[in-house]
């Protein structure tokens, strides 16, 4: 099917059955003339509108999407629209980072009696879209691959953490080990410059435990698989937030987990480290100093200063010490309070909408659809039942197109809305180095701004913002339709 060429735009409306669909009926009964572009999908409640329906429509070529429900407090189901309001507002603030103009998506409230208001909403929204013109499509945007370097400034001095209390930690683990199934930490991998997860089961294993900027993996990802068993986990500050988030979602039990923490001084962005090292046959040595590491491979020394080679997330990290721990060691790292935009997000912020669309087109053409991002994510709790490889529900096709791949990123980002702690494992795991963390960071930024500075993974008792609501939202204002 197609719209009337040149005359109409493709506009999809999701209307709740009780209020807005009735309002549209009322407008019809009153013979209130409206533009013909809009096609209405009837849903029981605005709360039924998964923001991903909107993304699906927009990526599939819709020029605009309108969601309308009952006025706050008038919801047929008491509170469906309150949840919708939060989720759709987050969506509205998310779309621009994908390169989609947020004016192409709107949500509002129209009661069954407000035929006139409905007419006004439809007319205004359609007019707005005609002024914007047909939506630019991802596939039409020229792929943009070369981008500016990220700007890196840290909230605190980054270091290598070699003076920390690793021996005390080891002693504590040995002491606790008899009660635990295992303790998750890090050990040397293929060489001294690459660390991998370690599962300590015997006191001897403890000697393998390493600490330093190569401890990039987030061990929290393994915790849900141990649910019901007593385990220990060694965490960096960022890892602890993932643990807190898992606790908040009851995916692990607090009494089963013993958290050991050391203050983190930063971790290396291994993608850039490996790129600099290039191919080598022998790793001669790794030397740590306070500000960085020197890796000598095949006789050539490469110096990696932490201030230049840390992971993007480390620069703005405000929780180098674990927010929750049973046993803490080492001296806590001081953080100058402040906020900096994460470098990945700053990169996107600096682009125009068109550039972002081009950027994602280029990046998604590189995407292998390997789902490493998903598998590394500690909060991808669906595990074997991810909607990306299911037929019921059938959110995605298996086509290898930038559109489907970007849609998967949208699914992941929106499923993590209000939950993502920004640990960056998705991006670190990406074998082709796509800065996908930016999508999650944009949502986290919007969540913080809308919900009184909420940050995920800080307090296991908190209700995550998208699973709650306030009758009057201080920071979400009804947009007027005048």
């Amino acid at each position: 099917m197609s719209v009337l060429e040149g005359k109409e735009l493709r506009i999809v409306g999701f209307l709740c059955n009780w209020c807005s669909y009735g309002g549209a009926d009322t407008a019809g009964v009153a013979r209130a003339t409206q533009p013909t572009d809009l096609r209405i999908i009837r849903v029981p409640c605005s709360g039924r509108v998964d923001p991903l329906f909107v993304v699906r429509a927009l990526l599939n070529g819709a020029d605009g999407v309108l969601v309308s429900g009952c006025h706050p407090r008038d919801c047929h189901y008491s509170s469906g629209n309150f949840y919708a309001r939060r989720r759709l507002e987050i969506l509205k603030q998310f779309l621009p980072v994908l390169g989609i103009d947020d004016r192409r998506f709107e949500y509002t409230w129209v009661s069954a009696a407000e035929g006139q208001r409905w007419q006004h909403v439809v007319t205004t929204f359609t007019e707005r879209l005609h002024n914007l013109g047909p939506a630019p499509q991802l596939e039409d945007a020229a792929p943009l691959l070369k981008v500016a370097d990220m700007v890196l400034t840290a909230l605190r001095p980054l270091g290598t953490g070699q003076n920390t209390a690793l021996d005390e930690l080891k002693a504590a683990i040995v002491k606790k080990l008899p009660e635990l199934e295992c303790v998750i930490g890090w050990q040397q991998g293929r060489d001294a410059a690459h660390h991998v997860p370690l599962f300590i089961r015997t006191p001897d294993d403890v000697n393998k435990l390493t600490w330093g900027p190569f401890n990039v993996n987030n061990p929290a990802v393994y915790l849900p698989t141990f649910k019901g068993k007593k385990v220990g986990i060694v965490v960096k500050g960022c890892d602890a937030r993932s643990v807190v988030e898992l606790l908040q979602e009851h995916l692990i039990n607090r009494e089963d987990v013993t958290i050991f923490s050391l203050p983190c001084e930063g971790t290396l962005d291994m993608a850039r480290v490996d790129q600099t090292l290039g191919r080598y046959t022998n790793l001669d040595k790794v030397e740590y100093d306070e500000a960085g590491v020197t890796i000598t491979a095949d006789g050539t020394a490469h110096r990696f200063c932490m201030a230049d080679f840390a992971q993007g997330k480390c620069y703005g990290c405000s929780t180098p010490s674990a927010v929750l721990a049973d046993e803490r060691f080492g001296t806590p790292v001081q953080v100058t309070p402040g906020e900096i935009t994460p470098p990945e997000l700053a990169l996107l912020d600096a682009m125009s909408l068109e550039e972002r669309l081009s950027f994602w087109h280029g990046q998604m053409e590189r995407c292998l659809r390997c789902y490493a991002c998903r598998n590394a994510c500690p909060l991808c709790v669906c595990r074997d039942y991810c909607v990306s490889d299911s037929r019921d529900p059938h959110w995605m096709t298996q086509e290898d197109t930038p559109r489907e791949k970007l849609f998967f990123q949208a699914i992941h980002a929106l499923h993590l809305a209000g939950r993502c702690t920004g640990c960056g494992e998705c991006q670190r795991a990406c074998p082709v180095g796509i800065p996908i963390l930016a999508l999650r960071q944009q949502i986290a930024r919007a969540v913080g701004q809308l919900f009184h500075g909420y940050a995920a993974g800080m307090n296991p008792e908190e209700v995550p913002p998208l699973l709650g609501y306030e009758v009057v939202e201080e920071n979400i204002q009804e947009r007027d339709w005048k």
Binding site: L4, A32, T36, P44, C45, F53, R73, S78, E249
Partner: protein, 653 residues
């Protein structure tokens, strides 16, 4: 799948601006559509018969009708397809009248749009599956919350219909606001005399269990099977022993207790029986004023009570009741009029509320029915009534009309003249709203026979003139001049608001309430008694301002709804509810956290934690479906796949 499509002309309503035949022709080209026609009137008897015939003839297993709004005829056509042997959920509708033909005249655009909407419906139908309603048992008992006249009526009607009733009243006696009134309009008959017998009926009816001094603490369950926890507040008197003799109230030394029943126009004792006709006629101790309870010494009532009913150590008690239906009849309270500083904000004793004035006029009131000024006990001669104090006033957040103030003000003016023949009453009003039977005649009587001076305008200022009287300054908008009246007594017709605690109760009952705390009916016009929670009904002012006859009528209406519900032994649940794919569920609990109805609960499946939907509680909003990241909980008939099919039908560049 074999789908039949019917594009209705609706006479010229649709065919006037949509080429229906063309839409049908387009429809025939889509997958699974085996039959498409464009009848003149699909909803008419021959139209429905044609659908049935086509189902048989073309072996259709799904039908799409494109006509008016599904809010109008979806139930009609569902019955039609069911008659022809299809499952009623194998049917979809496209709204090509309200959403197409009536809102634009461009034939080409309309035809194209209509075809797309039909395509939408076909795509959804292709993902439809037959759904069957489940049956469940009904507890044939009803809970009535609030023992005002609306609640009393609902309780009596239900009890008469053979249904056991649990009546919960917050105050110590039933009767509500009506029991406080002296007379009622437009007949000026004694309020207590007409309400009293009904109250006695409540006390004596074998089918009614009354809990006074009690409040609903917690409600769980669903239509047919609610479990209600009721908090019986400590009255410090064992009601099983109390005979209501009143000896305690005579001897109680704490005589300065504010008299709530008399709207604080007088004082009473710390142990008290609200009024002579109280039901239940039992004594209650006000713990804030009782000397034994506050200071630990007194004990006079315990000594005097002939049956030994006094229990100073009594505690609140929680009782649990199982009911199948709930009637909310919580009534109203007066708004806090002291925000009107220009009327003294409550500092002038001779500026009183209309309800206080009722108590002054009532023979059972603190003055024995003599109208006197609270300040000095003298009889007032000039009485000014001010209407709309806290009604229709956006500046104090009360934009609505309180409905019955015009009428009782007229009544009070008439009664004033009867009580004090040489008095003069003035009424400041905005508009006279007297639309009931014999109502307008009544207000005219107040003006014409009783010489009440009606002044159309607002009062700007009331202040003591220093000589013991009040100066009332206002405007007469009909004459366009300012008015100044020397008054002995000013009676404010204070606007109503939802009863204290109404929003909290609404949340317990899971029903909606408006900005002012009034409960929301299911449909403003066509379902004024029902709520959006099945099995919960409304009676009286808790739903919106109304007078006694309307409250009584709604009380009976709610009772009729309850009796209708209980006429069936089994109830059917709507199958359009959420369903959990037990394999996919990881028990993260997100759905459980946001379900507005508490319809999801934890369970276990092969040792793994999972969730399940309580089918009778789920109302089918689908919030859980859009919350579940793995799509493990799907709202039947609005599944992700169905909505995605619709999205993809519209957008597939």
């Amino acid at each position: 799948m074999r789908i039949g499509v019917f594009i209705c002309h609706c006479g010229s309503n649709i065919a006037g601006t949509v080429d229906c035949a063309k839409v049908a022709a387009i429809a025939r080209s889509w997958p699974d559509v085996v039959y498409a026609v464009d009848p003149m009137y699909t909803c008419a008897e021959p139209g429905q018969a044609a659908i049935e015939a086509a189902i048989h003839e073309h072996k259709l297993d799904g039908v799409v009708v494109a006509s008016c709004s599904p809010r109008m005829h979806e139930p009609t056509f569902r019955r039609t397809v069911e008659r022809a042997g299809l499952n009623r959920y194998m049917f979809e509708m496209a709204n090509i009248r309200e959403h197409v033909s009536w809102i634009g005249k461009d034939m080409e655009a309309n035809t194209n749009k209509a075809a797309e909407l039909v395509r939408l419906a076909v795509e959804k139908l292709r993902h439809d599956v037959p759904l069957t309603a489940k049956q469940f048992d009904v507890t044939k008992r009803v809970l009535v919350i609030g023992g005002g006249v609306a609640g009393i009526q609902a309780a009596l009607d239900c009890a008469e219909g053979g249904v056991p009733v649990v009546l919960v009243e917050r105050e110590a006696t039933i009767g509500g606001k009506m029991a406080k009134l002296d007379k009622t309009f437009p007949t000026v008959d004694c309020s207590a005399c007409i309400l009293g017998p009904k109250m006695v009926d409540v006390a004596q009816h074998p089918n009614i269990t009354l809990y006074a001094c009690a409040e609903v603490e917690e409600v769980s369950g669903y239509v047919g099977n609610f479990t209600v926890k009721i908090r019986k507040r400590a009255t410090y008197v064992d009601w099983n022993k109390c005979t209501g003799c009143g000896a305690c109230t005579e001897k109680c030394p704490s005589k300065k207790t504010p008299d709530a029943f008399n709207e604080a126009t007088g004082t009473t004792t710390a142990i008290t029986i609200a009024f002579p006709q109280a039901i239940p006629k039992k004594a209650v101790i006000n713990p804030q004023y009782c000397r034994q309870l506050t200071k630990g010494k007194c004990g006079v009532c315990a000594k005097i009570c002939p049956t030994g009913a006094i229990m100073y150590d009594m505690q609140d008690e929680i009782v649990t009741e199982e009911v199948g239906s709930i009637v909310a009849a919580t009534g109203y309270d007066l708004m806090d009029w002291t925000v009107y500083k220009e009327y003294g904000g409550g500092t002038y004793p001779d500026v009183i509320t209309s309800l206080q004035y009722e108590r002054l006029m009532s023979a059972s009131g603190p003055t024995g029915g003599h109208i006197v000024r609270p300040s000095d006990g003298r009889e007032p001669k000039n009485i000014v009534f001010v209407q709309c104090v806290g009604s229709r006033d956006k500046s104090v957040g009360r934009p609505y009309c309180s409905g019955f103030c015009c009428m009782y003000t007229a009544k009070q003016a008439i009664l004033t003249k009867d009580h004090i023949p040489d008095s003069q009453s003035y009424v400041f009003y905005m508009d006279i709203r007297a639309p009931g039977k014999m109502y307008d005649e009544f207000t005219r009587r107040a003006m014409e026979e009783y010489g009440t001076e009606y002044i159309r305008g607002r009062v700007s200022h009331i202040y003591p003139d220093g000589n013991g009287r009040l100066t009332v300054m206002g405007v007469d908008t009909l004459l366009g001049r300012q008015v100044e009246i020397k008054a002995d007594l000013v009676v404010l017709a204070v606007g109503i608001e939802a009863s204290r605690g109404a929003p909290q109760l609404a949340e317990k009952l899971r029903i909606s309430y408006d900005n002012h705390g009034f409960f929301m009916e299911s449909h403003v016009k066509l379902k004024p008694v029902e709520t959006n929670t099945a099995g919960v009904f409304l009676a009286g002012v808790c739903q919106g301002a109304k007078d006694i006859p309307a409250s009584v009528a709604q009380g009976s209406a709610a009772a009729a709804k309850v009796l209708g519900l209980f006429a069936k032994d089994k109830l059917e649940s709507d199958p359009q509810i959420a369903q959990v794919d037990i394999q996919r569920c990881v028990a993260c609990g997100k759905c459980l956290r946001c379900c507005p109805f508490g319809a999801i609960k934890g369970t276990e499946f092969r040792g793994e934690p999972k969730v399940q939907v309580i089918e009778t509680v789920c109302q089918g909003c689908g919030l859980c479906t859009s919350t579940c990241p793995q799509g493990a909980i799907q709202l039947q008939h609005s599944t992700d796949n169905q909505i995605l099919a619709e999205v993809n039908a519209l957008c597939q560049c």
